[in-house]
Point group: C2
Chain length 440, copies 2
């Protein structure tokens, strides 16, 4: 597969707390420790991503941000909908998708906030609809986590009610007509009267169509129920995979499921996770990444032993693993890469500095290493693009934008500039206003 088909990758950026995707980023000397609660920082990071022509920002979220270790900052902190409102007014093109749970919200409230954001941003909003499966999150609502079938049934109902509310103001009832004195034709802003097993709403939601009509649905997950709802409702799937083969299998599964649900598979984009570190040399990149690994290196060293079928402790940190009888532990998909690094002769510390125990693949080294990884996956058909989690927003976004983005552009892998100014436009997906007509 070549890129002569002119297909270009999409790039999104994870934006969580005010420091970086690494929970120890707050300790970096470049950081104002109070950025945790300063929207100025979030806005600045968003502007950097927009300078890089990224298609979207992605806000992970969960109602359980309890800090687990004294050295760590919670991953997400301030409310992401409020954060997006600030960013929307201080950017012009970049899309923004936030995670919000269908278990701990009401469709009317969430539909209203998301549509408000979509209006004010000129059609740049997406919603990552997840169920929320964390008991500590549930406890913030005095509840317990329901089983998967119940959670996803509620999600399915919730998404449909939300979309119906979004479409409850008919498009041609806007704008108001001063000449006739009719603000909106009452027959065109109508109740939806939907009631499911879990959620219900009467409507209407009195918000007119946005520049893109209504927000785009994202989904994150991969469990069978997750794939099913994504295939029916989502235009973007925020994914996680450690090999391009696994990513391709996930992407193919999604595309097939979408086709089975009667949709064009190109209407659903599978976006793979990426945690790159860029520096002029591999050694410098390792030391850059190592800063964030160090505070937790003791716990990680024993886990690495488990991944490699050996026993490791702090004393081994500066040794290589030559002569040991190693095997990749099949219960952790990152073990194979750890084994390769061990076989290349890296010390235990440097294996860990490679970001081997992290949520996503971590290409590390000069910009070419990162661009090569992305191009390889993309041309393999592993994904439609990447969501990048910069370790340290304050520095790593600029480095990626100044060094990796131009390479991808030169290679024809990534667009040279925004072709649109709405999320639907960036993603190249069709229009949808209100409920999906196939579901009505």
């Amino acid at each position: 597969m070549t890129t002569t088909d002119n297909r270009k990758m999409l790039i999104g950026m994870q934006l969580g707390n005010g420091y970086g995707a690494q929970v120890t980023a707050w300790r970096h000397p470049s950081v104002d420790v109070e950025n945790y609660a300063k929207l100025d920082a979030h806005v600045r990071y968003a502007q950097k991503a927009e300078r890089g022509k990224f298609q979207f920002l992605f806000f992970p979220d969960s109602p359980n941000q309890t800090q687990k270790h004294p050295a760590d900052a919670p991953q997400m902190t301030l409310d992401p909908l409020i954060t997006m409102a600030a960013i929307a007014r201080e950017t012009t093109h970049i899309g923004m998708a936030t995670t919000a749970s269908t278990s701990w919200n009401e469709p009317y409230n969430l539909a209203r906030q998301l549509k408000t954001l979509d209006m004010m941003s000129g059609g740049r909003i997406g919603w990552n609809a997840v169920t929320g499966s964390d008991p500590m999150g549930a406890a913030n609502f005095g509840q317990e986590v329901a089983d998967s079938a119940q959670r996803y049934q509620r999600l399915h109902e919730f998404v449909q009610i939300t979309q119906a509310l979004w479409g409850s103001w008919e498009e041609d009832a806007w704008p108001p007509q001063r000449e006739t004195g009719v603000f909106a034709d009452l027959n065109k802003v109508r109740p939806i009267n939907l009631r499911g097993q879990h959620v219900a709403s009467r409507g209407p939601l009195p918000i007119p169509p946005s520049k893109q009509g209504q927000p785009v649905i994202f989904q994150a997950g991969g469990s069978p129920n997750g794939v099913e709802v994504a295939a029916r409702h989502a235009n973007v799937v925020i994914g996680a995979a450690f090999t391009k083969e696994d990513a391709k299998a996930q992407r193919d599964r999604l595309r097939n499921a979408a086709a089975e649900a009667g949709r064009d598979p190109d209407e659903i984009k599978f976006i793979a996770g990426l945690m790159p570190t860029v520096a002029p040399t591999v050694r410098q990149a390792l030391d850059r990444r190592g800063f964030f690994v160090e505070p937790h290196i003791r716990q990680r060293v024993s886990y690495l032993g488990m991944m490699l079928g050996t026993t490791l402790s702090e004393q081994d940190l500066d040794s290589t693993l030559e002569g040991r009888n190693l095997r990749a532990n099949p219960s952790d998909p990152r073990s194979q890469r750890a084994l390769e690094l061990a076989q290349e002769g890296w010390t235990v510390r440097d294996i860990l500095y490679h970001g081997i125990i992290d949520f996503h693949p971590s290409p590390i080294g000069p910009a070419e290493v990162v661009a090569d990884h992305m191009q390889e996956w993309f041309e393999f058909g592993a994904c439609d693009g990447f969501w990048v989690s910069p370790s340290l927003y304050e520095e790593d976004i600029d480095i990626f934008v100044d060094q990796v983005v131009p390479l991808l552009q030169e290679r024809g892998q990534f667009h040279a500039d925004y072709e649109a100014d709405t999320s639907r436009g960036h993603l190249g997906i069709g229009k949808q206003y209100g409920l999906d007509p196939r579901l009505q």
Copy 2:
């Protein structure tokens, strides 16, 4: 009573849809009809109020904004929390209080959004905690309205859980300590584990103290249960009264109830509603106001007849009511004022142009008329200040700021400039962080 005690009035401004407090304001030639959904307009209005040194903006809200008449714009439209986020970043001093219902939200979600706003605004946020008593609003959540006792019990639990969440990050656990590597002491960001009959939350909410600690509680209502919760929790009561005697009675009742609940009565401010219209002459002011009355004048003329104990129809619009046997209908507190206007010899149309059928007193004429009304009420002890509902934001805020505010300042009734930059500072109320210690 004189103002030699140096007590000064507070001024707040109602901010709803993008046009004005009159539902017909959208038709005014000065208005961009698309302001309904343009935050630029809301931000501009907020900046005008800040220029006038107003202490706060007040966002009424309800989940039932169904348009009732083709000529009317819904009163509030875009989500107020999202709107406040935009305004917070483009103003520096003015406080902002939004209404949010305790029946159709979850404490954790609302606590998080409000505290996020309080952080990002530098401590300028207030929350008008209402139960929500509208069946059409309830239907947007597939529910019915509970009885008053249940609604207010939920509100009482909700406010306490919210405040406990706000205080769940101990003040001295902020800011993060780069030197020691401790982001926050885990013993100082702790669960709250509160469970009531209606709502519950585990916590903690991982948001540090804002510049004012946490948001201020507002309340709106006046029913016995409403007064009780206000007396326990609120620092500001958004009120409605048509005579200064009634306002004073309401204020005294609140102050007594606060004292009975063990609080200093000066910690609770009663804010009276006001819908002024200012123009160089009374005639010009009437015509200004009349623009907004005209679209509904037919319905109003018959209602005015009911208020005056007579029968009125469209044919009577340009007649005076001389010779009729009139009496003020005691079931509507505005009838007395309507009777006075009839006795002064105004035509039916002009009586209606006085804004007689409106939510609040409507002083109308040159700026002195409005300033006199405000001073008279304030010196009578009727209120601690006013919340002004400008008919037409695009013009009426500036007129009030340029003409009424300087008069009140000259008379020593209103402050010359902000003395503080937080809501607690503007209101002159004490600190509270977490739950009220008297309730713990």
